[in-house]
């Protein structure tokens, strides 16, 4: 083996020093690193509020914090996690870092817009955090009218404005990806040679570009109603509060696919790489991403089955909702089939990929309950829903993010982390997650509504289980901070392709050059051909 691997002399991290070289950079990789730091801060901040929620719910009585504080806690948790962590997580960090090298480009199509999107994210984040910390907001992350318009006396407008601003960051990222994937591919990189990670990001970008403006205009309407006294949703003035919900979910349901689609892309990369086998049914996996993105736009009213929509509309939306289930199922089956006759090994990223399979399956299948009309009447707005969307957004999206981060960490930093501790963390996350959220399905079917500060005594045992699991989960998320930071200085040097992966990004050095490749790559073979990887390794030895 090559035991004298060294960090290359020139790479994007040492191409310029000092704060200005970062803050004014146009390098997509440096921007990704700054996103990584920002969303990590947001993640632990949002996590802190989750700790508050679980502590409160450890006992049935509302005795840890006041009802008002509790409401502000879950709102802060939701707003931070959804808009400032999950939506930018994989696209803005991993997508930003990896899409150009994966398609053989030097940078994204619009590097300055990329940097602008980061600044917009920061402005939106600071705005929201300031509003959260100077009084908070108690409407829930859904901002339902008329409570948000006339009922609440908390900082609704500043927080909504922060979300509005951050939305532009998301739009610009999506716009950049779409143009980059269309126009910046290396010679020979045809659409069907793209890594599935890129396909997934293309689908994600579509949702970002098409959905986000609708939440923006919804927030504007909420803002003029609350701030200027216009009458748009207010029932006291002939307005329709249900209209707000329609507009809100037109974005916010597809927003779930902004979170999960990139994770599905990561999953495809991990499953293929760690079974050293081409993905089963490449085109089906690729197109199912697009199908999920498009179908995602026609199912939103399943959030509103008891909100006063017509029976006819409920039937239509229930029917359409099942359409999303099919491409999701197709993906899971294809990953399973990919493992067949592979050469499978269980490094940390693969542990996350296996965990993802389980959690995403449960999350997806429980979605069927909620799409089914008669069932959803009972389950709507209970902890069953809370458990379901955490399985998708935490069990799915964050597992994918963690798996991807561990997979590409050697590419990003050039060094390996501790395999031992990272495996422990992966197992802790999986076990802790299930301990936290499985009981919530049960307590949800019992009827415990969400956003409850106190609850009936007989539901305590299940809630205590959930709170206990959350502490394990928290540990599982904190551990990576330690060993990943440790690896920056002390980790083993990884080399260009430590996993024997097939993607174009592994052909270049780790960490890559600022312009990614020394020589512009030309692609002459299909994706996920491990024969080439093995041949190249042998050649090197």
């Amino acid at each position: 083996m090559l035991d004298k691997l060294k960090i290359p002399e020139r790479h994007y991290l040492n191409n310029g020093h000092g704060l200005a070289s970062w803050l004014l950079t146009k390098d997509h990789k440096r921007i990704a690193i700054m996103y990584l730091i920002s969303i990590s801060v947001m993640f632990f901040l949002g996590g802190l509020f989750a700790v508050g929620i679980r502590l409160e719910l450890a006992t049935p009585a509302g005795d840890f914090v006041s009802a008002d504080a509790y409401n502000k806690f879950f709102t802060a948790h939701g707003v931070i996690m959804v808009f400032f962590f999950l939506i930018p997580s994989i696209p803005a960090v991993l997508g930003n870092f990896l899409i150009p090298p994966m398609i053989g480009a030097k940078d994204l199509a619009f590097p300055r817009i990329n940097l602008l999107s980061l600044y917009i994210y920061w402005i939106g984040g600071i705005f929201t955090l300031y509003a959260m910390l100077s009084g908070g907001v108690d409407t829930g992350w859904t901002f339902y009218t008329p409570y948000s318009a006339t009922g609440s006396n908390s900082n609704v407008v500043p927080v909504a404005l922060g979300v509005f601003i951050a939305g532009f960051s998301s739009i610009l990222t999506g716009l950049n990806f779409i143009v980059t994937i269309h126009r910046m591919r290396a010679p020979g990189m045809t659409w069907f040679r793209l890594p599935l990670f890129v396909w997934a990001h293309y689908a994600t970008s579509l949702v970002q570009v098409l959905g986000t403006p609708v939440i923006a205009i919804t927030i504007v309407m909420l803002g003029v109603e609350r701030g200027l006294g216009f009458g748009i949703f207010d029932p006291a003035r002939g307005g329709d509060p249900v209209l707000f919900q329609h507009l809100f979910w037109f974005y916010s349901h597809p927003a779930v696919y902004i979170m999960i689609l990139p994770a599905l892309g990561v999953q495809s990369e991990l499953i293929s790489t760690f079974s050293r086998k081409t993905i089963f049914g490449y085109s089906f996996v690729a197109f199912s991403s697009l199908a999920i993105a498009v179908f995602g736009f026609i199912v939103w009213a399943h959030h509103m089955f008891v909100a006063g929509i017509s029976t006819y509309a409920a039937m239509v939306f229930s029917f359409l909702s099942f359409s999303v289930a099919i491409p999701s199922a197709v993906k899971v089956f294809n990953w399973t089939a990919t493992l067949y006759k592979g050469a499978i090994s269980f490094e940390t990223p693969m542990l996350y990929a296996y965990g993802f399979m389980g959690l995403f399956a449960i999350g997806g299948l429980t979605g069927l309950f909620l799409a089914t009309l008669g069932m959803d009447i009972h389950l709507h707005d209970t902890y069953f829903v809370v458990a379901h969307f955490h399985y998708i957004m935490v069990g799915g999206a964050i597992m994918g993010y963690m798996g991807g981060l561990h997979f590409w960490w050697p590419k990003i930093t050039g060094r390996m982390y501790s395999e031992f501790f990272s495996r422990i963390a992966a197992i802790l996350v999986f076990v802790g997650f299930n301990l936290t959220f499985l009981p919530q399905f049960v307590v949800g079917y019992l009827g415990m509504p969400r956003r409850y500060h106190s609850y009936p005594d007989e539901m305590q045992v299940l809630n205590v289980m959930s709170s206990a699991g959350a502490s394990v989960l928290g540990l599982g998320y904190f551990l990576p901070v330690l060993y990943l930071l440790w690896s920056l200085k002390n980790g083993e040097v990884a080399g260009a392709n430590p996993w024997g992966a097939s993607g174009l990004e592994w052909q270049t050095q780790s960490p890559p050059l600022t312009e990614n490749f020394i020589e512009a790559p030309v692609v002459d073979h299909e994706p996920y051909e491990y024969e080439h990887v093995v041949a190249k390794e042998k050649h090197l030895v």
Binding site: H182, P235, I298, I309, Y312, F317
Partner: protein, 101 residues
């Protein structure tokens, strides 16, 4: 390299067409066509918008990708408005709109 340069006469023709259509839409609004008033107004507006997109915005001379992008925007706008009507249209049928307070 410099893209398609349209003749000035084309621009003037489009401009005149847009002005005439504006006149037509105002005129049509004063004729009682029942529910077709709205339809006529929207068809004229749609036609005017198409002229601007096709000639002023040069989509006629752009790549298929640009044309596809424009079509995508319209497609999702139709989804937005159409599925709103699935709910609000059926409420009108079954008689469920709001009670004015």
């Amino acid at each position: 390299m410099s893209g398609h340069v349209s003749p000035i006469s084309l621009y003037l023709t489009i401009f005149m067409a847009l002005m005439v259509l504006t006149g037509v839409t105002v005129f049509a609004a004063f004729v009682d066509l029942g529910q077709f008033n709205f339809l006529v107004a929207m068809i004229i507006a749609g036609f005017k918008a198409s002229l601007v997109i096709w000639y002023f915005m040069h989509v006629k001379y752009q790549s298929k990708l640009t044309k596809l992008t424009v079509a995508t925007g319209l497609f999702f706008l139709v989804i937005l408005l159409g599925l709103f009507l699935v709910d609000y249209g059926s409420k009108a049928l079954t008689g469920m709109p709001p009670l004015l307070n």
